[in-house]
Amino acid sequence: MKSAGVVLFAGFAGITTSMLLALLWAPSVSIDAFESPAAQRIFYWHVPAAWAAFIAFGALFIGSAGWLFKRSERMWRLHVAGSEAGLATGLMTVWSGCVWGAAEWGTPWDWTDVRLNTFGLLTLLAIYVVLGRNSQPDGVETRDTFAAFGLYGFVLVPLTYIATRIWTIRHPGPVVGTDDGGSINGDMGLVLLFSAVSFTVLIVGHMMASMRLTLLEQKLQRLQAKTDRVV
């Protein structure tokens, strides 16, 4: 837990710093570009959280595949960690998106926006995997079922990623990784990069802690079985 704790602390300090930078230092965008220029600053949270969510869902996918095809205990722990981290970062992304949407669009949710909806579904999948798995005793039946959901649900990740490239209805198009170099200037990019790195560190720390927790739970189960025989 010690190494996970250090990483977690570093990540938390990083995102706190990036929030302060976003509020107090990052330059404001042109007033004409957004209805609510102040609320636009939430993207220093929104975009890195979505980035961290993709990392978490990637871990969920790899963990699910690793359990289903290799029967690896380590991969199962990665599945658990990925789903929990995906749930948390998914909620952060959706929540920050709702806050931004309420200020910018006048509504926190838009059913016609494909990315918003696919990301909402991805988060719902994470909620389902976490709550559903916790409702079952650990065993091959539970693991196979939820690993299958983790595997098939991953199809939403590329769909969400390409959503704004195909259907730019309300969601802004990509701001980084485009052919023209994106629409972000130097200081904005610096804060965004710092925030993305901080979120990555935080989510990695959380997944390390979560994997260790699952390992502890498995040890506890074995210990309980041993105690059943002794007592």
Binding site: M19, L23, A38, I42, V99, L202, L213, Q224
Partner: protein
Amino acid sequence: MEGMGYLAVAYFGMLVAISLWTYTVVRRSQRLEERMAALESVNASAATDVAPNDEATAP
């Protein structure tokens, strides 16, 4: 300024949410370690209870 206040509240809310999430992970870890320690002490005391009887019945 009103917009910045709105943003600051949103940011603060999310920092609190992350802190709570991190706290639950730490608490879960502590509880698991406590339960494991309790079980290990039960196992240890059961083993010492059994040991004298074994000696008593030994030839």
